[in-house]
């Protein structure tokens, strides 16, 4: 396999962009990434578009041809890649394989989601498509509801209080303040979270990643192409893996473990030739506070049932044992579902380049992004390593 | 009417939904004196129930008591005036839900509150003739009560199912005979497209309810050479409590005979299920050898009357499924606003 480098990144701020369409968002993020990489549009040989719901919400499919048309580079290989809320990370994995295989020298991957056009009940219907339409969506379950099942079971099995799990959102907001792309740039108090309306008992509104629009893009190149660019820093996409688990939680032996996280993580570590202790920061997929806690456990940074302690004891702060969600995570930075996986990697990129400002993790050299589809039906881990 | 081959009941089952609304509460909303209500409370179907789902549970209970494999049932007749579809039979859905068919005769029947007993009449004929081995007759309704109307105080929901086979040692009870009396008497009707039925007030009494039940019951007793004292229990259609008590007196039955079969005070008028649920309650308690008279009444109008004798097998097999009292005792009371929401009486568009 050839080495793959992330040479450019760009994104839109995440917000309810009433004035920007799905294609506007994709194009904006892509052009920013192209500029950041210092390449020409025509250098791009392939485009991978990560997106979950353009069909149900916008009536638009065929995003590959759409973006090559709207960017003005018709002819390139381009197609949509979908894995529910892991679409971004999985699109990145596709892009990675296309360069690692030697097929392409330079590719663009862009994750995009436009959610704010839809009314709440329609959005809820679109998001439950991440689980089984016939046997789970059929029951009237919402995606928040499925995570609520896990939340309650977690609290009861490990005797953990909701207020300790909700702290994850407080953490996220603290770091969202300094992220220029973040949807929410204000801190939030625990009391505010715990008194926000119930969405699906016990999950409260402010424990859920918000609804927003956004697009984030990256440029990947091989060694040959990199040599033609005059870049100071060089960041390698050293590990990239995708794993699946049963689509719905009723098949799982332990509903409080996302097995695919462990599998994808181990594959990525192996590919990069490193160990868990070598990782300096992690971006985890906290669509809900309970998931943030569980991911810390499944990634092996805490024992089962103890992930919340890392949060409470400050170990996930930028100067803690395992800096986590250093730019606000899904809760504060935002979660335009198909784009999230790319935002996460963009944030790791910023950290490794030393461009994270007040959120900078000192001497960060290796970081990873864990992006989840559905309730763990897909997990992708993308691992970046600073070369120079 | 007697049959060439005697027909018996292999299994029976009933269902009453969980919710109740007190008549006092309905009176409160419409400004009626609390003392001027016909019954204590009536059953209210939940938002996820309809006459079809209730029939499935009643049918399941009947199958449990019958100890017959579902695929041996050859006919499903469903009597209701409140099917969920105006066109598309409930019988097919009920059959599939119970694992019955596809080699079956199935149809939905309509004749106001006697549709269930008319279904039973038809199944008796099919079993006796040998066309089928076992058949299921169902009466089920989620009756529509027009807000503020007299009938809102009693229009309730419930279902009952009976599985019939040739009389044998295995049947729980058997039919000695039946009698039907039908005339064109427009005491209660609903035109196509209308949500709620109309009734003709006091005309629904003597010329309708009383006349038809009287004629059917009298006709039955004469044909079989029986008198009221030959019966241990009598069950009449029960649109309220007053009418069946008066009917009993008119025919010469006393209060003890009618007690077990009279539930309308607690659950309201379950329309096509009414006399059948009363009948099921009697079967839940009756001793082998006892004789029961069941007479339904359906507006329009007509009455089916049956004479049934209980057999030994009932003592063990009635324990195999929930009893009518189990459903009657299980209740949650709702107020008029929740009732209105459940009955979709609140305009959302």
């Amino acid at each position: 396999m050839e080495k793959v480098y992330v040479v450019g990144g760009g994104a839109t701020k995440i917000d309810e962009h009433w004035d920007l369409s799905l294609r506007d968002l994709m194009v904006q993020a892509s052009e920013r990434a192209i500029n950041d990489a210092g390449i020409e549009k025509r250098d791009i040989e392939a485009i991978y578009v990560g997106n979950m719901s353009s069909g149900p919400l916008q009536g638009q499919e065929h995003l590959g041809s759409l973006i090559s048309t709207w960017l003005g580079i018709p002819g390139v290989s381009a197609y949509k890649v979908e894995a529910a809320c892991a679409s971004g990370g999985v699109a990145l994995h596709s892009a990675f394989t296309s360069v690692a295989s030697g097929l392409y020298d330079c590719v663009l991957v862009v994750g995009v989601e436009k959610m704010s056009d839809a009314i709440t009940s329609d959005l809820t219907s679109a998001l439950i498509m991440a689980d089984d339409q016939e046997y789970v969506a059929f029951t009237g379950a919402s995606f928040v509801g499925l995570n609520a099942l896990v939340y309650r079971a977690y609290m009861e099995r490990y005797h953990v209080k909701q207020e300790d799990i909700a702290l994850f959102a407080v953490h996220d907001h603290k770091y969202g303040v300094n992220n220029p792309y973040a949807q929410f740039r204000k801190e939030i108090k625990l009391e505010t979270i715990l008194s926000s309306p119930l969405v699906a008992d016990p999950i409260r509104l402010f424990e859920c990643a918000p609804v927003g629009d956004g697009a984030a893009a990256l440029i990947l190149c091989n060694e040959k192409k990199v040599r033609t660019l005059k870049h100071g820093s060089l960041i390698e996409l050293a590990g990239s893996a995708v794993a699946t688990d049963a689509l719905s939680i009723n098949y799982r032996e332990d509903i409080l473990t996302l097995k695919a996280t462990r599998v994808a993580f181990e594959r990525a570590l192996k590919m990069a030739g490193i160990e868990r202790k070598d990782v300096d920061l992690i971006e985890v997929h906290d669509a809900f506070t309970i998931l943030g806690v569980i991911h810390l456990e499944d990634l092996g940074y805490a024992r089962k049932g103890e992930g919340w302690r890392l949060v409470k004891e400050g170990e996930i702060e930028i100067d803690g044992k395992i800096p986590t969600n250093t730019m606000g995570g899904l809760k504060a930075r935002g979660h335009p579902v198909g784009a999230t996986g790319i935002y996460q990697v963009l944030e790791v990129l910023m950290q490794l380049r030393g461009e994270a400002g007040k959120n900078q993790v000192n001497e960060a050299e290796i970081g990873l992004a864990q992006n989840v589809g559905g309730l763990g039906g897909t997990v992708t881990v993308n691992l970046l390593r600073k070369v120079r | 009417m007697k049959t060439n081959n005697e027909v018996g009941i292999a299994g029976y089952g009933a269902y009453v939904p969980l919710y109740r609304i007190r008549d006092e509460e309905i009176a409160r909303v419409w400004g009626r004196e609390r003392s001027r209500v016909p019954i204590i409370e009536k059953s209210v179907p939940g938002m996820d129930e309809d006459s079809l789902t209730m029939a499935v549970e009643a049918g399941l209970n009947a199958l449990r008591r019958a100890e017959i494999e579902a695929n041996r049932i050859g006919v499903v007749f469903v009597g209701s005036e409140s099917p969920p579809y105006a066109v598309k039979p409930s019988a097919t859905v009920i059959a599939e839900a119970l694992g019955i068919g596809p080699k079956i005769v199935a149809v939905d029947m309509e004749f106001a509150c006697r549709a269930g007993t008319t279904a039973m009449q038809s199944v008796i004929g099919m079993v006796s003739s040998g066309m089928i081995e076992a058949g299921m007759a169902i009466g089920t309704d989620t009756a529509q009560g027009r807000p503020s109307d007299e009938l809102e105080y009693t229009a309730a929901a419930g279902a009952a199912a009976f599985i019939l086979i040739r009389k044998s040692k295995k049947t729980l009870a058997f039919f000695e005979g039946s009698y039907s009396y039908v005339t064109d008497t427009p005491d209660f009707w609903r035109r196509e497209g209308e949500r709620f039925p109309h009734h003709a007030f006091r005309f629904t009494g003597k010329p309708a309810y009383f006349r038809h039940i009287y004629e059917a019951s009298k006709g039955l007793m004469e044909e079989l050479g029986l008198k009221p004292s030959d019966f241990d229990h009598v069950v009449f259609h029960q649109p309220n409590v007053k009418f069946p008590l008066e009917m009993a007196k008119m025919l010469g039955f006393d209060k003890e005979q009618i007690e077990l079969g009279l539930l309308s005070g607690e659950i309201g008028n379950t329309y096509a299920a009414a006399s059948l649920i009363g009948f099921a309650n009697v079967l839940d308690h009756a001793k082998p050898g006892e004789r029961i008279l069941v007479a339904s009444f359906g507006s329009g109008a007509g009455s089916d009357a049956f004479s049934v004798v209980v057999q030994d097998a009932i003592e063990e097999r009635r324990e195999l499924a929930p009893k009518v009292r189990d459903y009657v005792m299980r209740k949650i009371n709702v107020d008029y606003s929740i009732y209105s929401r459940f009955r979709e009486n609140i305009k959302m568009r």
Partner: protein, 137 residues
């Protein structure tokens, strides 16, 4: 645009499985699962047998849906639970005939046939299995 997944043939295809809770039992690894299909989701063995799953079980965990998907908006709030049937098979289903405040993890429940949703006011009705507290404890 409105997101509704309506189709008549889809409902018809699922009748047996949804009306009667038909699952699969794998003769190779012995596990049971819902819904039935011939590939065992656990060991991949092709040849699972159709079984009528047990109609009693217990609530493993539950929630209350307060922000429902389209087609369910008029029913909210309603409870959803992960139910473990007597043979160990787990299913996700709505709970019914119960006050929200009375639901408990571990409570015994039984299967009932109920309406899940309508394909609009003039479309067909979709039925399936929900669970309620035991009628007789």
């Amino acid at each position: 645009m409105s997101v509704k997944v309506r189709s008549v043939p889809r409902v018809w295809r699922e009748i047996k499985i949804k009306y009667r809770l038909i699952g699969g039992k794998c003769p190779n690894c012995g596990k049971s699962f819902y819904p039935y299909r011939d590939n065992c989701p656990y060991c991949g063995f092709k040849g699972a047998k159709e079984v009528e799953l047990p109609r009693e079980g217990k609530v493993i965990t539950y929630t209350v849906i307060r922000a429902p998907p389209a087609d369910f908006t008029q029913y909210a709030p309603y409870p959803i639970a992960l139910v473990e049937l007597k043979d160990g098979t787990r299913v996700i289903a709505q709970l019914t005939d119960v006050n929200i405040e009375d639901i408990r993890t571990g409570m015994s429940v039984e299967a009932v046939f109920r309406k899940y949703r309508e394909q609009g006011e003039d479309g067909i009705i979709e039925y399936g299995i929900k669970f309620r507290p035991l009628l007789k404890s």
